[in-house]
Symmetry: C3
Subunit: 249 residues, 3 copies
């Protein structure tokens, strides 16, 4: 993918991460939504594509002066929405041909492979969008506006039996467990305790609010409730993984 | 290594991968052969060097306007051959001195260490080749043409007993098992089934041609037969690792 | 963090590593001391910060034309000392406000989070120091010289009972075990044998001085005694991890 990009543009390539949870569109969309708004306007290429080769088209999403390029599986929509208070624009990229094209020189994309659209479709699109300019991306052949695209939804936490039922959205590299529960729900308890799936756990402003290797609940940099261990792994201590339920009371 | 490069050149550094299988020259040569031809002409630095410190010299391989810098253990030859339909040129880099030289300022390389030639020999060579220019690399002191260099050979799959005996060349980060069997051998069976080491497995154009968590055989983006699981790990499902035999019928 | 940096500067970002041992300040300081002096003068941003959110301030260390930015927990001091034969200068970065500031536009830093000072404090500082210039970093508002800062000490190996008692400082990605014992202590034994925690092990100039999968002792590129296995993992073979004692005789 970087080779194709280098053939199409001289701009600096920035590796944001190679560590998204494999094949997990929703958790990756969550991370992108946290990360992309901190960048200045740019072309962002993101590929988490368990459905590669199913005929699903590539999309480009324009929002707030940025362009996001990737698969039409919902991945790009939450970060695009976080880039603007206005509306987002979605464009579909035509893919056609007999697969004989060189990805760096053929346009619209004519994927040589059925399993590596990152190289054959998404990187060529990102390079060309960058060179055309985000404002002019719709002047590229084969790119056209669409209102029909996939969404990904983050689950909303539920109030039930005087408590909250949330879900684990993501686990970061340190093992911190990021839930879908808004931090505002526990803000009043900072300094006190709450019950997490039956166990009483201190609520602290920061990891260091408890001793090393002690569990805590905190509000992460993303604004959501996080289950953590000071200098340890929250996922191990709380025994949860992405998609699991978490009961707070 | 990047520090030395930054001392010698202002050009953009692109991280291609830090994920090659450690110490495995052949699998790394396979990956380089797949990746490097997608780049525009550049200086490529690659170090997979289980024999570091044995006195083996560094080489520079020139092919198709690119230069590849690394150890003389065969690693660079398959990607170099993939860069040109003509011939490749191999140059040997003299290494000498008492080890007191600073790698950024001493030339030819005078390695301070016996165990980190990436820093002391290969990075200084790559930086200087870049600054001299690929066309002029043989004007650098201590670099001379050679016809004596190591090759690495990829095993060829064998027709035997009405079937094919192949070998696992590499496993990618998703667990897809890449064999040495050319995709042309199974192209006629796409949509049908073949036997893999005794089990009947569907042959599909793409991972999504079977249900999630189902095994399949496909032709990868590299053109070789791949053993995979849709949204899962083929290496686990087929129970194979790099170097293992695979029987197709 | 990269997003914030890209908002503040157009300079090339170089990823040195994302592989430091998590939360281990001392081992990370060791690696930084090995790596940073190979770079030309630059702004280096390093975050290993088990105490994030405890109120500890950010520091900038100026040494040899470089600036190092990170937490005041000792991490930056060994690499800074390795950059100059003169003295180092340490500056404290004021952090204040109500947490409502955008990290790219607010200065001095006003962290929006208690758990991600990399994004909210260190990256904004590194970007601004780069743009101000290392020589002028003290002209930035909120940055002031200090002589009160944390140190990290590497343990010194001990001569005891006719042998040496050292400690494992770090284990590299190949499994090579890096001790605090200076290579000079074993230089006379290269080509012979020494006892490591009771077992006789060959001392060799390079990994390839023994057969593949055989253990050896060598002097690493950092100048310290290393316990290794040719083409294998020394940490497994010697059964040691960071912080463990090693007895040499």
């Amino acid at each position: 993918m970087k080779g194709i990009l280098c053939q199409l543009t001289d701009t600096q390539l920035i590796d944001v991460t190679h560590g998204f949870p494999r094949q997990n569109v929703r958790a990756s969309a969550f991370w992108l939504r946290e990360v992309i708004p901190h960048f200045p306007p740019a072309v962002h290429l993101a590929v988490v594509d368990p459905g590669v080769g199913t005929g699903r088209k590539a999309i480009v999403v324009r929002a707030g002066g940025h362009a996001l390029v990737g698969p039409d599986n919902g991945l790009l929509i939450p970060p695009a929405r976080a880039l603007t208070e206005g509306s987002i624009e979605v464009f579909r990229v035509a893919v056609s041909g007999d697969g004989s094209g060189d990805p760096a020189t053929t346009w619209p994309p004519d994927p040589a492979s059925s399993t590596f659209h990152g190289r054959d479709v998404f990187a060529p699109t990102a390079g060309r969008v960058h060179e055309a300019g985000v404002d002019s991306l719709d002047t590229l052949a084969g790119i056209e506006h669409t209102d029909s695209y996939e969404r990904v939804r983050f689950p909303v936490c539920q109030h039930r039996d005087g408590g909250l039922v949330g879900e684990v959205l993501a686990v970061d590299g340190f093992g911190n467990v990021i839930t879908n529960v808004p931090g505002t729900e526990i803000r009043a308890h900072v300094g006190g305790q709450i019950e997490v799936s039956g166990d009483s756990v201190p609520v602290r402003r920061t990891y260091a609010g408890v001793d090393p290797n002690e569990s805590l609940v905190t509000i992460g940099s993303h604004g959501n409730v996080e289950l953590a261990v000071n200098q340890g792994r929250g996922d191990d201590a709380f025994g949860v993984a992405v998609g699991d339920s978490v009961h707070l009371r």
